[in-house]
């Protein structure tokens, strides 16, 4: 099987995640886009792990760790979002701009 197939998949997932991250106004959709980016990374890691037939399975172990990290992050991210929602009734990113530079 061609190595470049999974890599192309990972790059496109990564790119789509970046696009979603930069364009979506709703915070939760941003989290989703980040998940896509991380999945892109995971595909690439697995592909390289299988390609190198790594004895240590560094790639696949790393994927497991990445998945766990993603889960932890989503948990905390949602907690922060809820806090923000409770404070400002909206989770649109471009409205969360109270902290900024005053042009003095």
């Amino acid at each position: 099987m061609h190595l470049s197939l999974p890599l192309l998949l990972s790059v496109s997932l990564f790119g789509i995640g970046v696009y979603g991250l930069l364009v979506r106004r709703n915070a939760i959709l941003i989290l989703m886009s980040v998940e896509l980016m991380l999945n892109g990374v995971n595909v690439s890691l697995v592909a390289f792990d299988v390609y190198w037939a790594d004895v240590l399975h560094a790639g696949q172990s790393m994927v497991i760790f990445v998945i766990t990290i993603a889960a932890a992050e989503i948990g905390l991210g949602l907690a922060i979002l809820l806090l923000l929602f409770r404070a400002r009734r909206t989770i649109a990113i471009d409205e969360a701009t109270e902290l900024h530079e005053e042009a003095s």
């Binding site: 470049s4 696009y19 106004r25 896509l36 696949q60 760790f65």
Partner: protein
């Protein structure tokens, strides 16, 4: 494994390509759909397709982990998040932000650059799939032989995420 150009795929290639296309299409829908709930559902489809890809790549344990944690826990969490933040059910216009052009340019740029690099580096390389089985036992062995430190560190990470989330969700009234 004989060198074969990209154009003469074997069965494995075909399966992987199909699953890949499904994943990419679903991902595109996630970032473009007008309805927030549909986005979550498309995410499920995309992650499922990726899990399939892992299976094709003989990364069996990782595939099950993907299904269990991502589809099971993460997406469910996201849905809960949407409910709690009273996301509108029907289509709502203002989901995509203003600087669309810049974001598109940035995303395309990073994809194009990395894509070119990858194709240039690995255009003809093949993966020898048969003969490799990264089942749960194999992964378990390598995890606990080589990767104990990150494993332990992750436990601290999860615990701190847990406590953090709880502390944040306590409303301001009680101590």
């Amino acid at each position: 494994m004989s060198e074969r150009s990209l154009l003469s795929p074997t069965g494995v290639d075909i399966a992987f390509t199909l699953l890949g296309l499904v994943a990419v299409a679903a991902a595109l829908m996630v970032v473009t759909t007008k309805q927030i709930v549909h986005a979550a559902l498309w995410l499920v489809v995309s992650l499922g397709a990726v899990a399939g890809c892992y299976l094709v790549l003989t990364a069996e344990f990782v595939a099950w982990m993907q299904v269990l944690i991502y589809l099971g826990a993460v997406v469910v969490l996201l849905l809960f998040g949407m409910m709690l933040t009273r996301a509108p059910i029907g289509p709502s216009e203002e989901l995509t932000g203003a600087n669309r052009v810049v974001s598109l340019f940035a995303a395309l740029a990073i994809t194009a650059v990395l894509g070119v690099l990858i194709v240039d580096a690995f255009a003809t390389t093949m993966i020898d799939i048969d003969g490799q089985k990264s089942t749960a036992s194999v992964m378990g062995a390598s995890l606990f032989r080589y990767w104990v430190l990150p494993f332990e560190a992750l436990s601290v990470l999860l615990l701190s995420a847990l406590v953090g989330a709880i502390a944040l969700s306590q409303s301001d009234e009680e101590a």
